[in-house]
């Protein structure tokens, strides 16, 4: 029992690490600002699938690492992702029962929440504002959600992460 539990934990860690790699992998200049929020998507999936194992605490730790990776203020993504995880865990039963399109919309709201908190903090410390294109990654993330969901779910089943 103990063995399988830790085994599952490694799979969760690996998927989150993969998401971080996708977040820092160099892209052409024209695509950099369209990069979807891979870490957010992965975190949302695990919060929905295993809310008793992945929740606010994991969101916080993952967010801190993301802060270091992206050079933002320490705690910026941590705050945003823990809030995302909180909402996600709070509503997981409901979101799981939603039809696909409604789930996508919920994911969009969660991704926008992440970006919004990051933007708020940026504005609070006096960084300049962005154009509307700032929100495109959330939109792209929404359309990627069914794919991410299917892939992560097959991973979860294959390694029977409980």
């Amino acid at each position: 029992m103990n063995l399988t539990r830790s085994h599952g934990g490694i799979i969760i860690l690996i998927t989150l690490a993969l998401a971080m790699i996708l977040t820092i992998i160099p892209l052409p200049d024209s695509l950099v600002r369209l990069r979807p929020d891979w870490v957010g998507l992965t975190l949302i999936f695990w919060c929905l699938a295993l809310p008793y194992r992945v929740s606010v605490g994991s969101g916080f730790v993952v967010g801190l690492l993301l802060d270091v990776l992206s050079g933002t203020l320490l705690g910026q993504h941590a705050l945003a992702l823990s809030l995302t995880a909180y909402v996600c865990v709070r509503l997981h039963a409901r979101i799981r029962a939603y039809p696909a399109w409604q789930q996508m919309l919920t994911v969009l709201v969660l991704l926008v929440l992440h970006q919004l908190v990051v933007l708020w903090v940026d504005r609070t410390i006096g960084r300049p504002g962005h154009s509307l294109a700032y929100w495109l990654p959330s939109l792209i993330g929404m359309f990627l959600w069914p794919l991410v969901y299917r892939w992560l779910d097959s991973v979860r089943r294959a390694f029977s992460v409980q």
Binding site: I25, P26, D29, V68, S70, G71, L73, Q76, V121
Partner: protein, 277 residues
């Protein structure tokens, strides 16, 4: 909701003071393997290109490098004479100003992307190589930026074009002092508060003035490319283009201030010097 309070506290401390540098350093070690992994493909391609280069290519490169070195050496001779003359004149004037040799270190960029709305880069040297917070970063053409977070193996640098960055500069031609602000575009710096009647021309070279004590004086920063004078406004709008290839350089130079000697350049037994710039 303790987490929320904790993150807000963290952000406040990180923004106001520098107590969290050790924490950020520790976290940067955790993510270092990920960064290395992402950096790997580019590195491997470079390595293959080098090891598969033909003899002729190498000869050609060697030849052009030799030629370049000859030219540079010739210019250096002139510089030495000028420096000696300058020192002599300064001595006559009893001036304490000196342009001296500085210890330098070459670091390579990690090819990882960071926040797209911040102009930051990650380099592969850290506090183990005695880098420090606020250390200036150059490339072969000019000033690139300064270090803002130093971890054990990697460091984060803010480029001079980041909207939150400002560097004190002066016009090389007449010594007019001003400040160059980042605009968020890789090819643009803005010089605010230049009066309409100031002596500034398109093509003027801006060098670091050394005021503020962060950047060494006399390094090229940018070139004035556009001056818009509107009589209705108090100041003219001046734009400059950075000299350094901010979005292209793969190797960067790190400079130490003169008074702090770089230990690895002397005997290795000496303990590392950790001082604020």
């Amino acid at each position: 909701m303790g987490v929320v309070l904790l993150s807000i506290a963290l952000m406040t401390i990180d923004h106001r003071q520098h107590h969290l540098d050790s924490m950020r350093g520790a976290l940067s070690v955790v993510v270092y393997p990920l960064q290395l992994l992402v950096d790997l493909p580019g590195n491997t391609v470079d390595w293959f290109r080098e090891s598969l280069a033909t003899r002729r290519q190498l000869q050609e490169e060697n030849f052009s490098l030799r030629k370049q070195q000859l030219v540079l050496n010739t210019q250096l001779q002139k510089l030495e004479t000028l420096e000696a003359e300058n020192r002599h004149l300064r001595a006559l004037l009893d001036s304490s100003f000196q342009v001296g040799e500085r210890p330098m270190l070459i670091a390579a960029l990690l090819s990882v992307d960071m926040d797209p709305y911040r102009h930051q880069i990650e380099i592969n040297k850290g506090s183990l190589d005695n880098l420090f917070d606020g250390q200036p970063l150059l490339d072969s053409r000019g000033v690139m930026g300064q270090l803002i977070h130093v971890g054990p193996f990697t460091s984060t640098a803010m480029l001079i074009t980041d909207p939150a960055h400002a560097i004190p500069v002066q016009i090389n031609r007449n010594g007019l002092r001003t400040i160059a602000l980042g605009t968020g575009k890789f090819d643009q710096l803005e010089l605010p508060n230049i009066p309409n009647n100031a002596d500034i021309q398109v093509g003027d070279l801006l060098v670091s003035s050394g005021l503020g004590g962060r950047f060494p004086p006399g390094y090229p920063v940018a070139e004035v490319v556009e001056i818009e004078q509107d009589p209705g406004r108090a100041f003219s709008q001046v734009l400059a283009q950075p000299r350094a290839q901010l979005d292209r350089s793969r190797e960067v130079l790190l400079v130490w201030p003169e008074q702090i000697e770089h230990p690895s350049m002397q005997d290795a037994s000496e303990p590392p010097v950790e001082e604020a710039p």
